[in-house]
Amino acid sequence: MEAASVRPSLKAQGRARRRLLTNRGTELGATLAAFGAVAVLAIVVVNVVQRAIPALNVDLLTQVQATFGESGGGISNAIVGSAIIVGLATAIAVPIGVLIAIYVSEFAHEQVRRYVRLALDVLNGVPSIVIGIFVYGLLVTGSGQAAWKASFALGVIMLPIVSRTTIEILGLVPSEVREASLALGVARWRTVLFVVLPTVRGGVLTGSTLAVARAAGETAPLLFTTSIFLNAVVSDPRQAMDTLPFTIFLYSESADPNLQRQAWAAAFVLMAFVLVTGLSARFLLARSERKLRGG
């Protein structure tokens, strides 16, 4: 111990010590922030699962809403409605979104390309409630609500997501692929449709899946397009339908514990769907990027 006191201490002191401590403090802060965000996710998911479990049963998935004041009942019509509306929206948004992406990455000049991408970004930034009143003004005023109008609104929300992902992935296709095809005398349109496009199937699928996950949880556009409906399973898109997000929205403001339980159950079904589709989109994206980057 005697000897040690003679040697200069290796512990940081004074200014150096302060710098080290500041560094530790900020590192700790950043780590806490990241784990805090994960903790919030865990808390929300656990809360939803916990509260949904008592309400999860066969009736929930097979029955329509119980008449006022009665217990029991289910959300089958909301599940069917959501599936049909989101399905139709996908059928609208995916083909158009892919066409836009093809134009941007295969045909457009640099200047035009920038404008279209800007337009897609702007469209992506329009609040969904504004899309809701837009479709209300465009299609609902005068003729009433219908499921296909909700699909149109959701399609508008999905369009920029599909397009942007497809543009990104088309940009990864090596130009040699196009050149090889053109050099063989294959026409441009055949090259695009039968050579380039098949290589990005995975990317298109990813973009669509991401868009579906986003659209399935959207509520605001549904308020104005499909919020007055029969209490039955409806399959005709010309009529309004119940949907999962709307059910959650409506029941969350209710004081009836039975309805609140069903809101949690509906939230569970919706969240499970959205998170599973989101995760598979991420998986698909990783796979198709790996393939294109020369895996």
Binding site: L99, G125, V130, I133, G137, A187, P245
Partner: protein, 323 residues
């Protein structure tokens, strides 16, 4: 495939050539039409929303923006309370969520061990995937009671001297609950953009800083943050844009009653988006519907401006970097 088959005669070759020329033109113009459609769609949205607001425009003119009554009985409508509510909740959400999100971005790009990085990054992004209506349900039934019973009284005791926490919350629905929910929505968006920005900073610049003997924090403050400043501003703006436009979750937790320009976070409030959403089936007169559309116009302008500024900064930033 036809493409490979040898044409039997010159005549066949001609038809194929012609077909291919038509095919090229057709595909080019079909896709161009779709692209033009997306641009036109924005125009149509603006036109339809402005058109719907016509009754309120002609009745109130521009003064709608600074009037603060919303009375369906006397047919007087004004937007000031909702504009304030939108800006006030968004400002708080950005103030709380911005630094947290940037810190998460730093953790993910600089601190996280390689194996953990991807997992935590994905989990943070999953937070953004939770539907807003589910977050709203959680906000009203789980977070609300916590705000009312614990957070509220505590903040009031500690910071009651500021105008922001000057009373205890009467219920779980309050501006404060809305701010918390908006913060949860904003953080993952800003965090994942920040992470990508920090990842783009060239390694040699960072290594030069370390070579000078800087600590990690000093490197972040001296190199990363200045380097990514423009991008970080737009990352925060994009998160703020999400908060400005969020309707459903806010409607569920904010209480839907305004007290004018009210700084107390434990009072109830209302925003542009949440007012439109909460009146989806309650609008009776043409004028009231028009006024809701007018709120939509204001909201659209606000979010377009925010997004446009953010995109411009990103673009300019990207161009500067390229040189």
């Amino acid at each position: 495939m036809e493409a490979i088959s040898v044409p039997a005669s010159d005549h066949g070759l001609d038809t194929r050539r012609r077909r291919d020329r038509y095919g090229d033109v057709a595909l080019k113009w079909t896709t161009a039409l779709a692209a033009a459609g997306s641009v036109a769609l924005i125009g149509l949205i603006v036109y339809k929303v402005v058109d719907g607001a016509q009754p309120a425009f002609s009745q109130f003119g521009i003064s709608f923006i600074w009037h603060r009554t919303w009375d369906a009985v006397t047919n007087h409508f004004g937007a000031l309370d909702f504009i304030f509510g939108t800006l006030y909740t968004t400002a708080w959400a950005v103030l709380i969520g911005g630094p947290i999100a940037i810190a998460i971005g730093l953790y993910l790009s600089e601190l996280a061990p390689r194996g953990v990085r991807g997992v935590i990054g994905s989990l943070v992004e999953m937070l953004a995937a939770i539907p807003s209506v589910v977050l709203g349900l959680w906000g009203i039934l789980v977070l609300g009671p916590v705000v009312h019973d614990q957070l509220g009284p505590w903040l009031n005791t500690a910071f009651g001297w500021t105008p922001f926490f000057s009373s205890r919350p009467d219920s779980g629905s309050s501006l404060f609950t809305a701010v918390l929910v908006l913060t949860i929505m904003l953080v993952p968006i800003t965090a994942s953009i920040s992470r990508d920005l920090f990842a783009q900073v060239p390694a040699d610049v960072k290594e030069a800083a370390y070579g000078l003997g800087l600590t990690r924090w000093e490197m972040v403050r001296g190199v990363l943050l200045p380097y990514a400043r423009g991008g970080l501003i737009s990352a925060v703006l994009l998160g703020g844009g999400r908060a400005v436009g969020e309707a459903i979750a806010v409607t569920q937790v904010i209480g839907a009653t305004t007290h004018g320009i009210d700084w107390n976070l434990f009072d109830t409030g209302d925003t542009l988006a949440s007012r439109i959403a909460s009146q989806y089936q309650g609008a009776v007169s043409n004028l009231q519907v028009g006024s809701l559309f007018y709120l939509g116009v204001i909201l659209l302008v606000m979010s377009l401006v925010v997004n446009f500024v953010a995109q411009t900064i990103v673009r300019r930033y990207a161009i500067e970097r390229a040189h």
